[in-house]
Symmetry: C2
Subunit: 195 residues, 2 copies
């Protein structure tokens, strides 16, 4: 009877150890994803925020006169979709840093803060995906143009800036995937505990 | 001793009843949100997919000759951002119908299917928000235009079609909010069970 009791006790201890090891593993994965999200959104925001390109373009002001050459610059704040991407990346980056501290403080405890963090991670997924869609659509229009609405492509002139937009959009996409997997990790952690 | 036992038993019964009532309430809210998501994304996809506008526009083909009047039509599949919105809405609508059946089959049970549904709901949030961002950015460009890239506004000509785009984007946004709250509901349900 005593050995049975000891056996059951050691089984419970083992279960507890496995649970703690699982929590630690989950916590490490969460921290890595948060740091990844922070670095990716920070880089995306800097790449687009800092980059600019100046080119000489020919403009025909009056049809009867020959075209004149004027310098034209491409910058992120000339198009609202790029402003939205830079601002969304900055918000997501600041939140990633803040949530990293919060999740460290909350580690191993079962309170409502954990649920709030998952909902905020979800909000970052929504924010970043809408900004990526927005910048991606304008970037694609700049690359291909559209004859139906008579919007000419601009990437044949501002090729370097277009590459920066593509790089920033790709980095933001990877950052938003990090937030996506943070929500998945949170849901799986809650599921493991509730089953 | 007996009355204490009865008291504790009735307390457990009460707790069980409250849990069942909570599960039922959560299930009803989930079904309402799924039906809402289905209706909203279906309407959004039909509004943009069916709507078109034909107008007579003046085109100057050769600078020395007077402009000629030609009929021009605005349709969803002329711009890739609108194609993306219609396809994303159709996917989200089909998934909403499928997940409604799945969640009915899964009601009250604690298995991995519930977690899979939450992750799929999350994927719909990402898909719909990127499509809304994309259509919103192109719609805004059509409404405002941009002198820096010399893309003229087109909503002064195709006003009715622009209103349809705005209505479809707004409906898709409401649909994506329904999926957002479905994820929140799923997370809160798991949190309640694990605490």
């Amino acid at each position: 009877m005593e050995s049975q009791y000891i056996g059951s006790n050691s089984g419970m201890e083992q279960q507890k150890e496995v649970k703690i090891a699982n929590q630690r593993g989950g916590g490490t994965r969460e921290s890595i994803l948060r740091i990844l999200a922070l670095v990716l959104t920070l880089t995306a925001s800097i790449v687009l925020g800092v980059g600019k390109q100046t080119e000489i373009v020919s403009l025909k002001l009056i049809p009867t006169l020959p075209p004149i050459d004027v310098p034209a610059t491409a910058k992120w704040h000339y198009l609202s979709a790029f402003v939205y991407l830079v601002v969304a990346d900055a918000i997501a980056c600041a939140y990633a840093a803040f949530s990293l501290v919060l999740s460290f403080a909350n580690r191993g405890t079962k309170n409502k803060l954990g649920l709030v963090i998952i909902v905020l991670d979800l909000s970052m997924v929504a924010l970043l995906f809408s900004a990526i869609g927005s910048a991606g659509a304008i970037g694609l229009m700049g690359y291909q143009g559209n004859t139906r609405v008579q919007w000419n492509k601009v990437c044949n002139v501002f090729g370097k800036f277009c590459h920066l937009v593509a790089a920033s959009t790709a980095l933001s996409f990877l950052g938003s995937l990090a937030f996506f997997f943070l929500v998945v990790l949170g849901v799986l952690g809650l599921g493991r505990r509730s089953m």
